[in-house]
């Protein structure tokens, strides 16, 4: 009952300094502070993180699954966009 009334929040956790925040799930909460605390208790209780972001789920604009072909498939036959045809100068080291 309560959960139906509470909005959904997406949770992003950064596991180490220098790494990106990664999406790891969602929580129901009535406000941002509550979402942050719930996220802490649900997603970092085994030392998974050092920083948390919460974002209202309805603020995320997502691509539609049915648009997959037109959005992503045209890139599949354009292998020249990958930088695999270049010789890397020795001085550049590992890339």
């Amino acid at each position: 009952m309560t959960e139906e009334k509470w909005p959904l929040w997406e949770v992003f956790v950064r596991s180490k300094a220098g790494l990106d925040h990664k999406h790891c799930g969602s929580v129901h909460a009535s406000d941002a502070e509550m979402a942050l605390e719930f996220a802490r208790d649900v997603y970092t209780r085994r030392s998974e993180g050092i920083s948390i972001w919460v974002v209202p789920s309805n603020m995320i604009t997502a691509s539609k699954p049915e648009d997959k072909e037109s959005l992503f498939e045209p890139a599949d036959d354009k292998i020249y966009r990958h930088p695999t045809f270049y010789d890397i100068p020795k001085a550049a080291g590992k890339m």
């Binding site: 309560t2 509470w6 929580v27 129901h28 009535s30 605390e37 719930f38 208790d41 649900v42 209780r45």
Partner: protein, 256 residues
């Protein structure tokens, strides 16, 4: 006064602090499977586990100080009602979510100040336990403060109900700032915390959050006492240890 041997005072002192954690932690664990939302349940159980963990460390140390080979289980499961010296506040019934939050808030405000001071104890073991516990109770204070504001400054119903919780639990807060014989005995050497000195800062924390939560602070400062100094508990306490100690009483020495 001050006839206690230092060794016994230390054992009593460690156990008495542990009792606070065990009893309020057990009370909170009674919410398991009953919270209104799964996220709230995980939050509350995490806090409960912190508090029971603190009790374990303190009971182990009490057993060492006592020197008669008592384990943490002896303290938790094999003592009787008058042996527990937790503050009355910690054994108050769960009531509704507001009652549970107000109890945790009053206790966490105290715990934050208490463990800050205990981390400066001349007893290195107590100081270490104090430093570790401080991080945990700082979060409990944050968690419960947010809820105080949310409920107090929430709907008309939540405001009315949480104000009632504040009024009902208020008379149990004064006992936190009274000294036991063990505390007096250990004070000279800087082992124990002078809890009387924590009251002004506790008032400040509580006043600030009550104001943000649009709640009023009860005017009457009369305090109920008896448990911390003498082991005289409220009626509900017997039910707590009946539940908590059942397994060890029914199957003595049982392990799993």
């Amino acid at each position: 006064m001050n006839n206690l041997l230092k060794k016994d005072a230390l054992a009593q002192y460690a156990a008495q602090i542990g009792d606070n954690g065990l009893i309020i932690g057990h009370r909170m664990s009674e919410w398991c499977f009953r919270c209104p939302a799964i996220e709230m349940e995980m939050a509350l159980m995490n806090c409960a586990l912190d508090l029971i963990g603190q009790a374990r460390a303190l009971y182990s140390y009490a057993g060492t100080a006592d020197g008669q080979g008592k384990t943490e289980d002896d303290y938790a499961y094999l003592r009787d009602e008058p042996d527990f010296r937790n503050a009355l506040l910690t054994e108050a019934p769960n009531g509704d979510w507001g009652d549970t939050i107000v109890r945790l808030f009053f206790m966490s405000a105290y715990n934050k100040l208490f463990f800050t001071a205990l981390a400066e104890s001349t007893d290195s073991q107590l100081a270490a336990i104090g430093a570790k516990s401080l991080k945990e109770v700082t979060y409990h204070l944050r968690f419960s403060s947010e809820w105080m504001i949310r409920l107090g400054d929430g709907t008309e119903e939540s405001h009315r109900r949480v104000q009632k919780s504040v009024d009902q639990l208020w008379p149990y807060t004064g006992e936190l700032f009274t000294m036991t014989e063990a505390e007096e005995t250990l004070l000279k050497d800087g082992v124990s915390v002078d809890v009387r000195l924590l009251k002004p800062e506790w008032d400040q924390i509580v006043n600030d959050i009550l104001a943000q939560a649009t709640l009023s602070r009860p005017q009457n400062d009369w305090a109920q006492s008896g448990s911390k100094a003498k082991g005289i508990h409220s009626e509900e306490f017997g039910y707590i240890i009946t539940d908590m100690q059942f397994l060890q009483r029914r199957y003595p020495g049982c392990e799993w």
